[in-house]
Symmetry: C2
Subunit: 245 residues, 2 copies
């Protein structure tokens, strides 16, 4: 019987060339497709909710694949984990209706961006955060983050050269939490443009250290001008936290 | 002028063959001695508070070295960090009296042992915890840990073949904290035998999952018998947290 199997996946992206299968490169998708091949004896095409770049992590990436394997749905994660490197873990495996599509059906996504803010970097967060040795005004960053909430044209918040039908996106929620040296940004939206979260993170850092004014956010939303915003913060700080269907 | 310089060091031990300098192996001590050589143009012998094994981490290892460099004490950490890999960070550098000796003068040490307790391991804690997929009775582990507090002969809590003058040690404090999947053991003592913290961690895990009785602790203290205790838990979970002088 043909089945549609949904996987929820956590990974440490440090050693991978991003999500998407590429010839002669080690990727997350490639590793999982290889493991599916081993356990089902069939070639599988894994559909992810979206790509993540080199160095970007996931706590809850979602992907699905079609298969006629007779392995029970909850045993699939166990069998895959036994055939995957330890920096990729299948957290959940379940049967879903044949119509389910990880990318088209994704309603919301939450990303987390992690900043390590201290004078000296941490050996333990070097691959999982962006190190910022400047004093940051977190209240101001928080205030700036609220300006992003709502439905806006985020054209200015996109890497140059990206091809998309529309640059209008809705941000539902933005939380900024500081605990000791770690500042975590949680951003939930109906979709994100290429590099959008990293451009937002870089801009909030610039606002926090006083090198950009908070008004640059509304300015970029109004004009679509990328250059009024801050730099694209490093990929290591970025985590795809959750995909909501 | 000859000076005695004390360093407080954090490191991710994953990629190193432990603390101690060894020929043809990459070690923490070796990397720091190399960096001292670069910044002072002199060979230095770094004295650590104690060795850590391959895979073991530190949040606050302490070491000192003698030098006649004229770099200001607080600039030494900056200069060393500029010449060290990112998984080793000098958190503090200070001038101390010539008599100060990192090993002989250490009064107390605190180790942290981290357990990741869930059905599926975490990509992010794989090098920083011991993964235990069994249900653990944390209350019982806590009760057992209290039996270790005090001055006891810990002969049974030592790796076979270790050479020491005395196996009597004092444990001042033991805290066990659970937060979501992480269980952290904090143990403070005047000194620790070889593998002692890892044997304690392995034994508490066995007690927590019900495969050893809590009485094995008093039994090992009374008899000095290693075999009544649990296994030696993996090095990745172990962190040298603090050395107190």
């Amino acid at each position: 019987m043909v089945r549609n199997i949904k996987l929820t996946i956590a990974y440490d992206g440090t050693k991978y060339h991003g999500w998407q299968t590429q010839p002669n490169k080690i990727t997350i998708q490639g590793e999982i497709e290889r493991a599916i091949g081993i356990i089902t004896k069939q070639r599988a095409d894994l559909i992810g909710s979206g790509r993540t770049d080199k160095g970007v992590h996931a706590l809850g990436q979602v992907a699905n694949f079609i298969s006629d394997t007779n392995i029970k749905s909850d045993k699939i994660k166990i069998a895959l984990n036994a055939n995957l490197p330890k920096d990729i873990r299948i957290m959940q495996s379940e049967d879903v209706p044949m119509e389910f599509h990880s990318r088209f059906d994704a309603h919301k996504k939450t990303y987390m961006y992690q900043i390590y803010n201290d004078y000296i970097s941490s050996p333990f967060y070097r691959d999982y955060s962006f190190f910022v040795p400047y004093v940051l005004n977190v209240d101001l960053m928080n205030e700036a983050s609220k300006l992003l909430i709502g439905t806006h044209d985020f054209k200015g918040f996109m890497a140059a050269g990206s091809q998309v039908k529309t640059t209008v996106r809705t941000i539902y929620n933005f939380e900024l939490v500081r605990k000791n040296q770690l500042i975590k940004l949680y951003i939930t939206g109906n979709g994100f443009l290429y590099n959008m979260v990293r451009i937002i993170a870089g801009t909030l850092i610039d606002i926090g250290k006083g090198s950009k004014d908070i008004s640059c956010i509304s300015n970029a939303i109004e004009t679509g001008d990328r250059t009024v915003l801050g730099y694209t913060a490093n990929p290591e700080g970025l985590f795809l936290k959750e995909v909501i269907y």
